[in-house]
């Protein structure tokens, strides 16, 4: 009987009434690796954040090393022996490897305040060799590759004597050789009696490193068991499951034949490869992809926020490759970003100011000074607020930050509607908003399509896409993997396509040097 190092006992957690986890119960044995899988939003991050002391569960208990465990902050978790290797690494790239390893506890010369350089380098070298990294401890971290930096993070976890190490999507930017080295190290950590929780969308990797698998879906534990009972197909079907069909408002029109947005062979090394898309008028075209598949990055390139090395983009017949957001807006393109707080809204400004911002030029009076006609701008803002049913006080005084998430999102959509775009890109338009507001946003999108607007709908909610779109493109590893027409929508097949590219990612030999 293996000792249970981490035990989750009926963990439940809700955010603002939305259930994120419900009654999750499983455990991980000492020296074992658990593969934790699930779609985006299935509850993996929430669960790990509870273990890491970032959130506190509403109900349930965690036992760590057979003792009750209630962290109140991330530092508690670190002290208890839990280490988190995040996707975004937490290193000081301006400092040396040794400095990074011991930044919170340098070895000193006796009681003097001075760093004992010899002991520092000796201990750093020991840690580095335990993760198979043969570089000098004095090397600045900024000179290391992403794979090497990740090993430094692992070494840092070892320096704090972590007994439970959580890896979150660790292989995304690793070459094949680096990935193999990582797996060897994970094996070794296991042999030392450390417990690993491995989270990834790369299912082949999960099968390769794990001893056991736990599948989450909609905040519930669907299944858990030893790895030999699992195959990639079974993992996918466990993750998808069968859910109650949600209702989506019906749309009466069918896509037209005019192309409003054309993307041809867009490539940006390290981000996306050879992307071609044709979006027609009155069409809702979905783009599905898992986190890190390149879907949001593609949207940024199309909108002109980021550049691409090769490829052609044209908006309503006008060439728009390597243009700026301002030029894109001028061409009739609008972009409802994924992150409304930081990118979509001026949180401190009034609702009307936010609504009018992209179309201020329309409201200027004639004459050289081009002064804004405020009453006219406010009237337009009011009209849009009414159409979208934005629940707010007087829109010229109410600040956006005091609105609910759903109403904030309506403001983002409203400001682009005022600009009367011909093509709209939505990136996760319904994330974190309540069901009622979601339904209204679906209605608005349908109405736009009926008016002739072409819509690019990016989402990681598969159900939403199958309910709303005329066509779905599936992205993975920065490429388009598959295309599905409405009559062929099948959640399992779409998900399979989304997982497909990742397994082969970086599997072609070692030529990391170029």
């Amino acid at each position: 009987m293996i000792e249970r190092e981490v035990q989750f006992d009926r963990i439940s957690k809700s955010f603002f009434g939305a259930r994120a986890l419900s009654e999750v119960t499983f455990s991980v044995g000492k020296g074992r690796t658990l593969g934790l899988i699930g779609e985006n939003g299935a509850g993996k991050s929430t669960l790990m954040n509870i273990l890491g002391g970032v959130f506190t569960q509403d109900k349930g208990a965690i036992r760590l090393f057979s003792k009750q465990y209630n962290p109140s902050c991330p530092a508690d978790a670190t002290r208890a022996g839990i280490a988190f290797i995040h996707q975004e690494l937490n290193l000081f790239t301006n400092l040396s490897v040794a400095d990074n390893l011991f930044i919170d506890g340098f070895p000193r010369i006796g009681r003097l305040p001075f760093i004992d350089k010899r002991r520092l380098h000796k201990r750093a070298a020991e840690l580095l060799s335990s993760v198979d990294l043969h570089i000098s401890a004095g090397t600045p971290v900024e000179m290391l590759t992403p794979g090497e930096r990740q090993l430094i993070e692992i070494a840092r976890a070892l320096s704090r004597d972590a007994r439970v190490i959580i890896f979150d999507e660790p292989t995304t930017s690793l070459t094949a050789a680096e990935r193999k080295r990582l797996f060897d190290i994970i094996k070794r950590l296991q042999d030392q009696g450390r417990t690993i929780i491995y989270i990834s969308h790369t299912l082949e990797d999960v099968l390769q490193v794990s001893d056991a698998i736990a599948v989450l879906r909609d905040g519930c534990l669907v299944n858990t068991g030893p790895v030999r009972k699992y195959s990639v197909d079974r993992m996918i079907s466990d993750m998808v499951g069968r859910r109650i069909e949600q209702m989506y408002p019906a749309r009466s029109t069918i896509p037209g034949s005019d192309t409003v947005l054309e993307v041809e062979g867009v490539t940006q090394p390290g981000i996306v490869r050879d992307i071609s898309i044709k979006l027609h008028e009155k069409e809702v075209l979905g783009i599905f992809g898992l986190m890190g598949s390149g879907r949001s990055e593609l949207a940024r390139i199309i909108f002109g926020l980021d550049s691409c090395r090769t490829g052609r983009i044209s908006i309503r017949g006008k060439d728009a490759a390597s243009s700026s957001p301002a030029a894109s807006i001028g061409n009739g393109l609008a972009f409802v970003t994924e992150n409304r707080h930081q990118e979509g809204l001026l949180m401190e400004a009034a609702v009307s100011e936010n609504l009018d911002l992209p179309s201020l030029r329309k409201f200027t009076r004639l004459g050289p000074a081009r002064i804004i006609d405020r009453p006219r701008a406010l009237a337009s803002a009011n009209r849009i607020a009414e159409t979208l049913r934005i629940k707010s006080g007087p829109i010229h005084t109410q600040k956006v930050k005091s609105l609910s998430g759903g109403n904030q999102q309506k403001v983002v959509i409203g400001k682009w509607l005022l600009a009367e775009p011909g093509v709209l890109i939505f990136d996760e338009p319904t994330r974190g908003i309540d069901v009622g507001a979601k339904y209204e946003i679906y209605g608005t999108i349908n109405k736009l399509a009926e008016e002739g607007v072409g819509i690019l709908y990016i989402s990681s909610e598969l159900e939403e896409l199958t309910g709303m779109c005329d066509r779905i493109l599936v992205m993975s590893n920065g490429e388009i993997r598959a295309e599905f027409a409405r009559q062929d929508f099948d959640q399992e097949k779409i998900l399979q396509a989304a997982f497909s590219g990742r397994a082969g990612c970086g599997a072609t030999g070692d030529n990391s040097g170029n």
Partner: protein
């Protein structure tokens, strides 16, 4: 991307002060070789020492990602207080120096408190202290010049063992202490960590307040020390004393490779070279008989170059750190 090319780009971007210095030597060596006599170099070092000391203090603050615009006013207040104390009380030169440093430390502590505890932006805090300090100094001195006795001015022209002028000795001492603190103590490394990312430093268990307070207080102490040395050379403190020196100090630090983005730069050789650089350029320009009106423009061009390289360096490093979502092989 090849590691070799990385290494080269790295070496160039991290050693800009040395490269700028070499560039200057080559240019003036060709145009005005007479500017490199021993005497001129010693003069460059001597004149650089007081700005250099202030620049070392400024470096601490810049490393945390902040800025201190109040060092010029700090010099004025602390020197005026020391001078007035000598006029009205039986205070000797050494006690006056200690008093001067104490006022400087207090000045820095106010900045530190506002930045670390009240979380006000460093630019705003120190701009306010720049104005406040000047006002307090004028109030104390009734805007009259404060004269210093010979016991102080003697120090300004004295030489250690009759060889090295005292200002240079003090400058060297300050540089050594700052180097020791930054490179060889945990606190020093943590100052770099805070400058890279305050949030990441806090997550890693670093006391960010301690690092920030240390930086501003030391900056205050070094500003008043630099002021005292300048007084020892000039003999008096007038109402405009120290005005504009904050910008010379920032320029010296930036020319010495200290990043305005925080977290990068070294006191030795960087800031030392930066401080000497400015003086050496002006001596070189004089010996090359360049039109006096052009001097500020040429100095500005060098500063612009240094800041441009700093900015390029950051863009380059950001590109190296970006995590790709696909691996191109």
């Amino acid at each position: 991307m090849s590691l070799e090319r990385n290494r080269l780009t790295h070496a160039v971007l991290n050693n800009t002060p040395l490269l700028l210095f070499a560039l200057m030597f080559i240019v003036f060596g060709l145009v005005a070789p007479q500017s490199f006599r021993f005497q001129s170099l010693e003069n460059a070092f001597k004149q650089a020492s007081y700005v250099g000391i202030i620049a070392v203090g400024m470096t601490f603050v810049l490393l945390t990602g902040g800025i201190d615009l109040s060092v010029g006013s700090n010099m004025y207040v602390s020197a005026a207080v020391a001078g007035l104390a000598m006029q009205h009380f039986p205070v000797g030169p050494w006690l006056a120096l200690i008093l001067c440093l104490f006022v400087g430390a207090a000045f820095g502590a106010v900045n530190a408190f506002a930045v670390a505890k009240l979380k006000i932006m460093p630019f705003v805090v120190t701009l306010a202290m720049m104005v406040t300090g000047r006002g307090i100094g004028l109030m104390f001195s009734k805007s009259r010049a404060v004269n210093f006795p010979d016991s102080v001015t003697g120090l300004g022209s004295a030489e250690l063992f009759g060889l090295v002028p005292y200002p240079i000795v003090v400058f060297a001492g300050v540089v050594f202490c700052a180097w020791l603190l930054l490179e060889r103590t945990a606190l020093g490394r943590q100052i770099y960590a805070v400058g890279f990312s305050k949030e990441a430093a806090r997550k890693a268990g670093v006391s960010t307040d301690r690092a920030i307070v240390t930086a501003y207080v030391l900056c205050g102490v070094f500003a008043s020390l630099g002021g005292f040395i300048s007084v020892a050379q000039l003999g008096n403190v007038n109402a405009g004393f120290g005005k504009g020196d904050e910008f010379d100090a920032i320029a010296a630090a930036v020319l010495g490779g200290v990043s305005l983005f925080g977290g990068a730069g070294r006191v030795f050789p960087g800031v030392v070279l930066g401080a000497v650089f400015i003086q050496a350029v002006s001596i070189g320009l004089v010996s090359a008989r360049v039109d006096l009106y052009l001097h500020p423009l040429i100095a500005a061009a060098f500063i612009f170059l240094a800041v441009l390289i700093d900015s390029l360096r950051n863009t380059y490093l950001a590109r190296l750190s970006r995590r790709n979502i696909r691996v191109e092989e």
